[in-house]
Symmetry: C2
Subunit: 433 residues, 2 copies
């Protein structure tokens, strides 16, 4: 009823038979003009490139100043979007308002993150922009709430607030919030605009980029969801200052993953800089996040819907998801499970004769440096792995496909064509029974 008033008092009805984006952006483009971007951000790097010069790498951490704002593009045709990375971005009204569609915003966050950053984000969204009203929905914190009941709270809030198709959902939080908010945005009125503001390492280096959204089912991780791309990703590296160590380190598992699957130089950089990362060196972090986003953006732009190539981002995840599901969601963090899962995938690759023993050792060493687990929890049995792995999204016609390393450092393969004996041996090597 309160929403009714707003709608029915509108004086100027607008004629619209064009793309919604036209309507929603009219006022914003008037305010900000075309050259806005340059005044905010340092330099926009040319098209993302996979080459990192050895000189840069030799310098230890890179010389990115923490006030810089590099942009990584996710190239997906007319659904392309920028990833902004920098310090203090949460306070940049211009940046936050630039990607809002419509006049109504719903910030989706959780109890922990709301108390830290919600006010700041709401201020940045509304500062100097009286036309925008911001609602929020604060979900309980935890992987175990990444479910349909919690998702319904987002829909309830959006509908009770009378949000329309030109509204914008903003995900403010870690991977759990990003995945749920994105899925809600994909389904609310069959799809509304959304923005990712990731606040964990995990979300900044991986989950906020690429449009995989969804929720868990009691029988398996992320089994219900959608591919749905955000309008932009805003990474304020300052938010990591409040992140607990265990969460910070969990995200590093995905950083290590990029090195192993496709970026040997990045892996070597990590070997030299892991100490800087776990002691929260801001420059090292800025570089690790940017390089991770570039790697992810490249894979996503080549294979948005994971028909093939994109699956390599799942190194260690089939084993890892089995751990997460079997232990009860949230007991092992996603990155911790992935770390142990990567060690198992690397072990299996070695048993298949596909990689040199030195890679096995380097993977184990770097994860230990990061203080990540290198074995699954003791309670896991071979049967627990097997029954959980069967519902993995990568099973096709009954064949379990895995990401395995093959060849020199930085090369992998996604395949169902492997000797089952190696898989059995790996499972038995890592489980007591």
């Amino acid at each position: 009823m309160m929403a009714a008033a707003a709608s029915w008092n509108t004086k100027h009805n607008l004629f619209l038979l064009a793309n919604d984006r036209t309507l929603s952006n009219n006022s914003l483009s008037f305010l900000f003009g075309g050259s806005w971007l340059h005044s905010l951000c340092c330099t926009r790097p040319a098209k993302l490139s996979m080459k990192v010069s050895a000189a840069t790498l030799g310098m230890g951490t890179t010389k990115l100043s923490s006030s810089a704002c590099p942009i990584v593009d996710v190239d997906l045709g007319d659904r392309s979007y920028p990833i902004y990375i920098g310090s203090g971005l949460l306070s940049h009204s211009d940046l936050l308002q630039r990607h809002i569609h419509g006049r109504r915003v719903l910030v989706v966050t959780n109890t922990t993150v709301a108390s830290l950053y919600l006010d700041k984000v709401v201020s940045a969204l509304t500062d100097g922009n009286p036309n925008v009203t911001v609602e929020n929905v604060i979900l309980p914190d935890g992987e175990k709430y990444k479910d349909m009941d919690t998702l319904m709270k987002v829909f309830d809030k959006a509908i009770e607030s009378g949000l329309d198709r030109l509204c914008t959902f903003v995900a403010l939080g870690g991977g759990v919030i990003g995945d749920m908010c994105g899925y809600a945005a994909s389904s609310f009125l069959r799809g509304v605009n959304f923005i990712q503001i990731p606040t964990t390492v995990m979300a900044q280096v991986d989950s906020a980029v690429g449009g995989k959204t969804g929720i868990n089912h009691r029988l398996g991780k992320n089994l219900i969801g959608a591919f749905y791309q955000p309008q932009c990703v805003i990474i304020d590296t300052d938010t990591l200052n409040t992140l607990p160590d265990r969460e910070l380190v969990s995200g590093l598992a995905e950083v290590v993953k990029y090195g192993l699957i496709k970026d040997a130089l990045f892996f070597e950089w990590q070997e030299k800089n892991m100490q800087a990362l776990i002691s929260r060196d801001p420059d090292a972090f800025a570089y690790a996040i940017k390089r991770s986003c570039e790697n992810k953006a490249e894979v996503v732009s080549q294979d948005e819907k994971e028909r093939g190539l994109r699956a390599i981002g799942n190194l260690g995840h089939t084993f890892g998801h089995a751990i997460e599901t079997s232990c009860g969601y949230g007991h092992w963090l996603h990155g911790e499970a992935v770390a142990a899962g990567m060690v198992m995938a690397v072990d299996m690759s070695y048993r298949l004769g596909w990689i040199d023993v030195s890679i096995v050792e380097r993977v184990s060493n770097i994860l230990k440096q990061a203080k990540l687990p290198t074995t699954p929890p003791k309670m896991m049995t071979v049967d627990m792995f097997k029954s959980a792995m069967v519902v993995d999204k990568k099973v096709a016609n009954g064949v379990l496909r895995l990401v395995l390393l093959k060849g020199p450092l930085g090369s992998c393969i996604f395949t169902g064509d492997y000797d089952r004996k190696a898989l059995d041996e790996t499972l038995h090597a890592f489980c007591k029974s």
Copy 2:
């Protein structure tokens, strides 16, 4: 665990780094070959055309024999798909099996339709094809079950059965089943193949075509969902033989809609053939279904995601959804609510001076012939309409956009640019308070 066995006993692991469709169709294309289509169906009409010759129309019902199988194409680039229309199609194993991906099928249906057609469909899916296993999930019958709890039953069944990403969901039923099964298919493992087998007039002429899927929220119809296209639509007109009269007639409201929004010749044909339709003349029905599908396919192929043009398919629906939501889902059938809603939209168009009074009379007459309601239920008040219309998906930035008739028969406009007084007058004219 039972699923585990199937997966872990597989001997031949397959290498797959290509499109899933390649893998899943290998065996089928081997079985059926290329010229299969011609042996099953009469003629494949050339590219759908909007012109129906006056001669054909003059003949009363068309001369389509009921054993014929016309195909209407929904042209959406690499997501294009055929709509097969004909008598006895449910028994055509070849046809049903042609569009299955993978070896696992989940038929989603309801208690009423299951007892009538489930066995037949399962036989057709499995006949001569021992590689395919078919699961089913039988939902409770009714619009009031088009909700998240019921949707979860589909996910539970799919996951408990160990279905993988190469499975196929089959929607067997009316619009409620089609909308729910389609949404489930869009979200299960972030999207699996699905097939529409509509068994009501409503679903055959409208809801099964075009990829709008979703569920209701207690505050509004279809507020949660996705655009997700099926692999094909199989319309067996024989299924209408068991459909109750009230349901049959409900679907005719959408048929009338196509005439009004874009197909004057079709409207004139309906004026001559409404009697044949309500007395279930199979030839008249085959023609009405085909012509409706052609109209819908044309609109959908021009504007899949309803950025503009496609909205014209919502003539009468903003008023109609308000009726459905306010009365409690299922008390008024969707088509009944749309019929009353169309009369209101036409009334408002006339008040705006946009159409001739003769159109107002012809709309009222044809709906009365069809025994459809031409006024909303007596309990509806102006305020009930207003508060329900505010959450309509067509509201943008607080402006309620409506589909209204403008110009000669068969012309309409989707706009928020109208005199609010006309809307108020219409609401007051149709409500006591």
